[in-house]
Amino acid sequence: MGHKTPLIINQFDYPARVLWLIHIIVAVALLCNGLLLKQTISLRRANALGSGKVSEYVTRFEPVRSLLPSRGRIGYMSGPNPEILNMEGDEYTAVQKEYRLAQYALSPVIVRPATADIVQELPLLIVDEYGGDFFDAQLRKKIVPPQGFVLVRDFANGLLLYRRERL
């Protein structure tokens, strides 16, 4: 009655191997996602997940945006001598992340890094005292107001809006 039970070694035949491999793939996928979930939760607890800084940064610019024209170009500087950084050994140009965030926050006006060659062509200028290397609050005192510009408003959050003086 019934069939003869195969030996254990016979049970690891072709169908068994296929089933085992499928089980392994399922287990690996589950493990991958379990590890990812664990890692995400611990990163989140350490407040190191994603670029949460973007939301904070963008929110700071909300009051500035309400004072800006609906289009045009304005300047941005995050210190007394802002400059466009060049990547090592090549002409590819990178600019500071804070400048890009400012552009994101203030769109649709075009934000330009207020480098020495173009600063006098810009009607308005945003100075970000906390951008770039100016995270240290003590350094705020050292910032030199840009020449030829008058302060329109200090937003009391590290941002100052300047207007070009009429000659």
Partner: protein, 500 residues
């Protein structure tokens, strides 16, 4: 705001569903078909309505009123056509198709589906946590796509101000499917909210997983579809990158949708309408990212080559004409954008005869790129060393082998298109004017991710299903039937013996 966003979601799905219903015949099995169709409808809805939105902006700076009117008109016309003429339309042009689940599912894999859903639930939790903490997305998410959406929405009559070389770091030449979709949702909602950008990212990420799973379930078998879905869900980079609101996952969705529709067409074998749909999805990939233009070239080349090789030029033209009918309207939108609004692409403008020739003749570049390709193949997914999915898929391929009985032109097109895409990406790196190592480091993993869903789809089309592999085990002896019975595949073994 919430009700207006629900209207946006319903309108998007409706536009997509009407387009889909007009072009793809209904499958007989209900729920499988339903999930595949919802995924395709969402992708189509997002893509087509973003094109409509862009055209509305071109026609009138006050795009919103034109948008509501145009989308309403498209929806009404499509619905009326479907309601009024559906019977004769369906009878005349196409018949419903059946899924290829002509093989029994293995009872041992009953646990399979719940585990896939559990794994997907883990991924969903990860996705939501990332999205909650980085609402604006990661670098490219806010710097390119969300910023462009802000220009379109906030700019009023000056919405095109953002397409300037002054913002060259944010690639103003990139096409507008994602930004236009986000801005369109804000027009519907009447307010800027990152919820819609997150919703779009979520839909593309999990829509890709669902489309891959359910299309293979239909075309091959349940376990094959679930395995493919698991391989994609088990790619951590796919989930994290989807949440970062980059355009690589949406682009991968359109690549996959094109290949899925082409293979469904092979199964239907009636009427050219699915090919029109495939043309639209291929066109939408070009409207998502510049790499999509390469994909259009590769898929057309693959279609022509395989059609001519298999059945001659007449058959090729019969397939190519409807494909182009779907492709050209979308390409016209892309071309208009590129010619009139977008500044020159940095990769193209950085070329020159002497410089390009020098790059092409530098042999070390070939070696560097080849090495990076091989390295990325096993690492782009950010897998743990002990949980490497590509390695496991290699073993799976060796164990199960190729199913030549399921080979078709559709499968051939998938393989050819993927090979051509890899070659095109290789050539792009070869002639890049940017520093090669930097370019490879910052983009190759994303290019691999774009192709990953399509690769998995093609791979699981080619590899034998577990059901067939076990059924065709020719070493089955009558005395071993008991072992097969224990594994619940007796009928397959008996059927296979009878066939032999």
């Amino acid at each position: 705001m919430t009700s207006r966003l629900i209207v946006w979601l319903v309108m998007t799905l409706s536009v997509g569903y009407v387009c889909l219903r007009l072009l793809l015949p209904r499958a007989r099995t209900s729920y499988l078909n339903f999930f595949t169709e919802v995924c395709l409808a969402f992708g189509l809805g997002i893509g087509v309505s973003s094109c409509v939105f862009f055209v509305c902006l071109l026609v009138s700076s006050n795009g919103s009123s034109w948008l509501f009117f145009t989308e309403g008109a498209i929806l009404s016309a499509g619905s009326l056509f479907l309601l009024g003429f559906s019977k004769s339309f369906n009878r005349r042009s196409s018949r419903s198709y059946e899924p290829a689940t002509n093989v029994e599912s293995l009872p041992q894999l009953r646990f399979f589906a719940p585990l896939v859903y559990a794994t997907t639930a883990f991924s969903l939790a990860v996705f939501l946590m990332y999205s909650f903490d980085a609402r604006h997305g990661e670098y490219d998410g806010w710097e390119i796509w969300n910023m462009r959406a802000r220009f379109l929405f906030r700019g009023g009559s000056h919405w095109a101000d953002g397409f300037t070389n002054l913002l060259d770091y944010s690639h103003p030449d990139y096409p507008l499917l994602i930004p236009a979709s986000i801005a369109r949702s804000w027009f519907y909602g009447g307010v800027e909210t990152q919820i819609t950008a997150i919703t779009i990212a979520l839909a593309f990420t999990f829509g890709t997983i669902a489309l891959l799973t359910f299309s293979l379930w239909q075309l091959r078998s349940k376990s094959q579809g679930l395995l493919a879905g698991l391989a994609l869900v088990g790619t951590p980079f796919f989930i994290i990158h989807g949440a970062s609101q980059y355009a690589d996952v949406p682009l991968g969705f359109y690549y996959l949708a094109t290949l899925v529709v082409l293979n469904l067409h092979e199964q239907v074998q009636s009427g050219p309408k699915p090919l029109v749909l495939a043309g639209i999805t291929a066109g939408l990939s070009a409207w998502t990212k510049n790499e999509g233009v390469l994909f259009v070239g590769c898929i057309v080349l693959a279609l022509v080559a395989l059609s001519v090789a298999s059945k001659g030029w007449k058959h090729c033209l019969d397939r190519l004409a409807p494909f182009c009918l779907g492709l050209f309207p979308i390409l016209a939108v892309v071309a208009y954008f590129k010619i009139t609004l977008a500044p020159p692409n940095d990769m193209v403008s950085g070329q020159g005869l002497a410089a390009t020739l020098e790059r092409l003749l530098t042999l070390s570049r070939y070696w560097d790129i080849g090495k990076a390709f091989v390295e990325q193949l096993f690492s782009f997914g950010v897998w743990h060393p002990y949980t490497n999915i590509p390695l496991l898929l290699g073993f799976y391929f060796l164990l199960l082998g190729v199913d030549f009985s399921q080979w078709s032109i559709g499968v051939g097109v998938c393989v050819a298109a993927l090979v051509l895409m890899v070659m095109a990406y290789f050539m792009t790196y070869l002639v890049t004017p940017r520093p090669l190592q930097w370019h490879l480091m910052t983009s190759l993993n994303r290019l691999c991710l774009q192709l990953w869903p399509s690769f998995l789809f093609t791979y699981f089309l080619i590899v034998r299903t577990p059901e067939r592999a076990m059924a065709s085990d020719t070493k089955v002896k009558p005395q071993e039937l008991g072992a097969y019975r224990q594994r619940g595949i007796e009928s397959l073994a008996v059927a296979d013996q009878a066939r032999l």
